[in-house]
Amino acid sequence: MESLIHPGILYTCLALGAVGVALSMPRRKGGFPAVGGLIAAIFFGAIVLALTIKAGENHPNLFFYIFAFLALGASLRVITHQRPVYSALYFILTILSTSALYLLLGAEFMTFALIIIYAGAILITYLFVIMLATQAPSEESPEALSDYDADSREPIASTALGFALLAVMTGLMAVGVPALKAPDLDRNPDAVLDLLPRKVQRAYDTLGVSRHALPLLAGARVEAIIEAGQTDPDRAVPERGAPPEPPPASSYWSQTRRAVLVVTDVEGFNERYQAALAVQRGERAPRGVRPLSRDAMGLIVRVTEDESVSPLVQPTPAWGMLLMEFPESLRADNIENVGFALLAEHPLAIELAGVILLLALVGAVILARMQIEAGEQERLGALGRGGDA
């Protein structure tokens, strides 16, 4: 099986990196966090470097390296710092770097959601509880560390175990990634607009286009040509005139990203279009002609290869054809996509999440108000049983 990284390199570097992590685990005497962290960073860097060399041109950009380094370094500090408060603060750094990685991956919504929910809400609670449950440093021992914070438990064994797990996981992933099916590149990223008619509707209102054309504009592939005046979009066979050939479907979006649209009953389209062009040039529109709106103009760019405007827009009163590109304002952005996926595909899951949050609320309240019955400890102490047998 093809592997993305030579197993020898991977396992050697992981083993040596494990040594670094083990070194940096907290000991009663402090340990060697700096040395260990450096060793771990070197060998992890080596693995990423090996990957990047193998990747050739197709490697991530610089920001990936920066934020990945930050995220992992901060994670290491979370588990190695002797003071819980710092651990929590480093975890915030982990979250922030992670959100930057999300941004690099094009998930803007999640980037900000993560920062707000995690760094903003959850981690604050953690900090609060850590403060609550830690003895304040006193005058005599300002550096008082709890024993259980100063010392880690079985650092070498757990590091070995964790890295064994990491080795098998990354090893299997290195084999698994090349074996993945290729993603469907022809898929329309804006397909969600099909299902979000209102936004498109607004655009068309400014264009004055038939409602029957809406699905065509919104849908990625225009495969039907609607005859002039025909109100039933399903009857797609033209009866009159030679329809222009649609471009080949397969590479369509990846190459041109243009939609072929047959616009019916556009009244005075050409005049309004020319008027808008005139407005764009800073001239005055002809009297009595309402220029197309800016949004609609955004739709009409690069009409032909040589960037001239008119040739394909036939001044036929009955129908015209438009080669167009979606304006940025009409592109489905990440938030719309996520929001749609969330609401349209997982509505019950949202309800379920609500139930879980309610449950968590009630549970937390109950745990918070659970009584430690008066005198229980004393009663047990009197019986000579320090705790519960």
Binding site: V177, P183, L367, I372
Partner: protein, 121 residues
């Protein structure tokens, strides 16, 4: 710097229809798996209950990175949606865990995980 920033931000926008090659995916997965393992190591070796739970949150985060990377690879948004729910669960678990930890602290005045070893065998 300006151009670099632009590059990174537009990576989200402009290149999204280009192949997010397997190699690049593996970069992100590697980071994710490493974070997961660091979480495991922390859970196994830190004795403070709060830090231990923080480590499980870190493991959740690792799953989040993997989900977003896969979401990018497959050019759909299900992974991102999944992350929202992961955040929800993380929040719910954190609320309960912290309440429990506070309660335990009130009982035994320690956050040491090894303080709870009565039941065994």
């Amino acid at each position: 710097m300006d151009s670099l920033l632009t590059t990174s931000l537009t990576l989200a926008q402009d290149t999204r229809l280009e192949a997010f090659a397997g190699v690049t995916l593996y970069h992100y997965l590697f980071v994710s798996a490493t974070m997961f393992s660091l979480g495991v190591i922390g859970f196994l070796s830190r004795r403070n209950l709060i830090i231990m739970f923080l480590c499980t949150e870190m493991m959740f985060q690792a799953a989040g990175i993997a989900l977003i990377a896969f979401s990018r690879y497959w050019l759909n948004h299900t992974g991102e949606v999944f992350v929202i729910f992961v955040l929800t669960i993380a929040a719910a678990e954190a609320a309960l865990a912290l309440a429990l930890v506070v309660y335990l602290f009130r009982r035994k005045s320690t956050l040491d995980a090894d303080a709870w070893m009565e039941l065994k065998g």
